[in-house]
């Protein structure tokens, strides 16, 4: 079992759901990266998804795109983020998962990128524009360095494909809860329950729900369907506005979801 999967399994054993916040690295300048990660770690998150800004983020909604534009304006790059992480690696005790579009990784060079990930203490990688069919090259180059390649499953993925993605994914399966891009939603489709049931049946590893989850209530309801949640836009907004109490409320909603959902 990988470090990433282990961290999620441990939260399950403790009766909680995994809570993985997404941050846009360098939103507010690279100097904010260390205090943000250490603060989230202190709040008891399971892992942290470290987003890398990109010029053409096709899977992201306006909140994350704008955070990315702020980070780009600060001169933040994939290389600088990994170097920065390396500078306080010893203080990081939760697994870090880098989320980046593919082109910055290609420009870095896969081998060099893998080494920089190791130096920065990165345990997993999510590349939203590399679906299953194109993902073998990532596993081949990054697995030898102990880095998991997390694959995404969508509501439009047919059952046979869901099974293949679940079998290939490492650390956890990232289950997209909406047709669409990242960002807050007020409602979700009615058949999510069946979708998650099929997905968890097909998967040997934990299933985390992401996209559109922005309130403590949604953390509870989505957590009940899955092994945990990924919260992006709501975290990015809270960090941008300096409202840590909002993040605390989201994290605490993930604690004891088993009990809450069966009440």
């Amino acid at each position: 079992m990988t470090t990433l999967q282990q961290a999620i399994e441990q939260t399950k054993i403790a009766g909680n759901k995994a809570f993985v916040p997404y941050i846009m690295a360098g939103d507010g300048g690279l100097k904010t990266l260390k205090p943000t990660i250490l603060k989230l770690q202190q709040m008891g998150v399971t892992a942290i998804e470290v987003g890398i800004p990109f010029t053409d983020p096709v899977a992201d909604g306006p909140t994350i795109e704008q955070a990315g534009e702020r980070a780009l304006a600060e001169g933040v790059t994939l290389r600088k983020v990994l170097e920065n992480l390396a500078s306080f690696k010893e203080e990081i005790h939760v697994p870090l998962v880098v989320m980046t579009y593919f082109n910055p990784v290609l420009a870095f060079g896969l081998e060099a990128f893998a080494k920089a990930c190791v130096a920065g203490g990165v345990k997993g990688l999510i590349v939203p524009d590399v679906p299953l069919e194109e993902s073998a090259v990532l596993r081949t180059t990054l697995n030898p360095y102990g880095i998991d390649i997390v694959q995404l499953v969508s509501l439009t993925s047919p059952p046979e494909r869901i099974a293949r993605i679940a079998a290939a994914s490492q650390g956890f399966v990232y289950a997209i809860t909406v047709n669409g891009i990242t960002g807050a939603r007020t409602s979700f489709a009615n058949d999510l329950h069946d979708h998650f049931a099929r997905l968890r049946e097909a998967s040997q590893i934990p299933v985390l729900a992401g996209f559109g989850i922005s309130t403590p209530e949604q953390v509870v309801s989505m957590g009940a369907l899955s092994d945990g949640v990924i919260v992006g836009s709501a975290i990015v907004t809270a960090l941008h506005e300096g409202k840590f109490e909002k993040i605390e409320a989201l994290v605490s909603a993930s604690k004891g979801v088993f009990q809450k959902s069966t009440l």
Partner: protein
């Protein structure tokens, strides 16, 4: 004829052209791409579909378009005989309608009655809006806020045709950002919406579908030149943004070893400057909008803005099949600057009374150079991909007080 066909060897079933192409898209789109591929293959095997497409191309678009011997231009250049494939005479004024009609018919066949498209200058947007008006499909077109400012008339044309034009305010606010926005819209509305991509770009099967719907250009040209000259041309020239008119023109000639193929990129202010759109001359390998291709980018993998006086060539990547044909040495890529294109445009106006689109003017300017190096027995065919009415404002501004 070659023993092994290069033309029919790509794409592979994985959507690869050599190492180029592929399907680098969010998972939510993968099922739609697979459904599209299946529906497309079935449609092309169905005689009722191909007959319907042929009907609209003939009766509505106005095909076949003439292959015109540009005698005055030929005399002026004093070299090879120059023929113009008159795609500018199509309904809506450019080759874009060939693909828009084909994909709109395909969408209808798939039961998808909503269409999304991107546009730069507005030519593909107008063609798509036209096809949607004709076939009673609901249409939304994403267009960069900068392009909307520059192309007010095309925005109004699309609106007259019943299309909703959405302004894209993110990134560089131009074509690549319009593609981002259209992809996002498609991800969100994938169940009832088809994306009519306008160039030979994007994830598989789009580059193949666009190529096949544009192949009519080259297929007609081949028959026409054989009828007129009794032989194949020595050279074929086309401008390349993403590469839809060029691949449509080149593809039927790819296996003819004696026919030299020339793709003309936009050099903007010059390849040595930061302001150009020549991804093959000045880009590196990368992934954007679903495909692995030559791409204008910086050392961090951030995509750079393309620059050209011609909005239709203003895209930072080159279609994967062109990248492949470049790598195997089958197509020669060269580039033409903004000022050379303006000269090409004026040359064609003056000699033949034809105002070409600024995109096509790049091909004309290159032909002017090429013809002089060839003998009077040689034949060049140029794809005149569109008419220049849309560019009059830009050209007037660029030429200052000259008109």
């Amino acid at each position: 004829m070659m023993a092994i066909s290069i033309a029919n060897s790509v794409p592979t079933k994985e959507g690869r052209y050599g190492k180029f192409g592929g399907q680098f898209v969010p998972e939510t789109l993968m099922t739609a791409l697979m459904e599209l591929e299946t529906a497309y293959d079935e449609a092309m095997d169905d005689q009722s579909f191909t007959e319907e497409l042929a009907y609209y191309l003939q009766q509505y678009v106005g095909r076949e378009t003439p292959l015109y011997y540009a005698e005055n231009l030929t005399k002026e250049l004093g070299g090879a005989k120059v023929y113009l494939k008159r795609e500018d005479l199509n309904h809506t004024g450019a080759h874009k309608i060939n693909n828009a009609i084909g994909q709109a018919l395909l969408a209808k066949r798939m039961g998808k009655n909503k269409i999304v498209a991107e546009t730069g200058a507005g030519q593909h947007g107008v063609a798509t809006a036209t096809a949607c008006a004709l076939l009673n499909l609901e249409c939304v077109v994403f267009m960069g806020a900068e392009d909307i400012k520059r192309q007010q008339l095309n925005v109004f044309r699309m609106e007259l045709l019943g299309t909703k034009v959405e302004s894209v305010e993110t990134g560089s606010k131009t074509l690549k950002d319009a593609v981002n926005a259209a992809l996002r819209y498609w991800v969100t509305n994938v169940e009832d919406t088809h994306y009519i991509l306008g160039s030979a770009l994007g994830p598989h099967p789009f580059p193949k579908i666009v190529r096949d719907f544009q192949r009519v250009i080259g297929v007609e040209t081949r028959e026409q030149i054989l009828a007129k000259e009794g032989c194949l041309p020595d050279a074929v020239v086309a401008c390349i943004g993403g590469g839809s008119n060029a691949i449509g023109m080149f593809h039927p000639f790819v296996d003819d070893e004696t026919v030299a193929l020339y793709g003309v990129e936009a050099a903007g202010s010059g390849i040595g400057t930061a302001k150009h759109a020549a991804a093959i001359a000045g880009g590196q390998l990368g992934v954007l909008h679903g495909a692995y291709m030559y791409l204008l980018q910086d050392e961090n993998g951030f995509v750079q803005e393309a620059h050209s006086i011609s909005a239709g060539l203003d895209y930072p990547g080159k279609g994967p099949e062109h990248c492949y044909l470049h790598d195997i040495g089958r197509v020669t890529f060269d580039s033409i600057t903004d000022s050379e294109a303006l000269e090409g445009l004026q040359l064609l106006c003056r000699t033949e009374g034809i105002l070409p689109a600024l995109e096509s003017a790049h091909a004309i300017a290159y032909t002017a150079k090429l013809a002089k190096t060839m003998s009077t027995d040689d034949i060049i065919v140029v794809c005149l991909s569109g008419r220049g009415d849309k560019d009059v404002h830009t050209v007037r501004k660029a030429l200052g007080g000259e008109i």
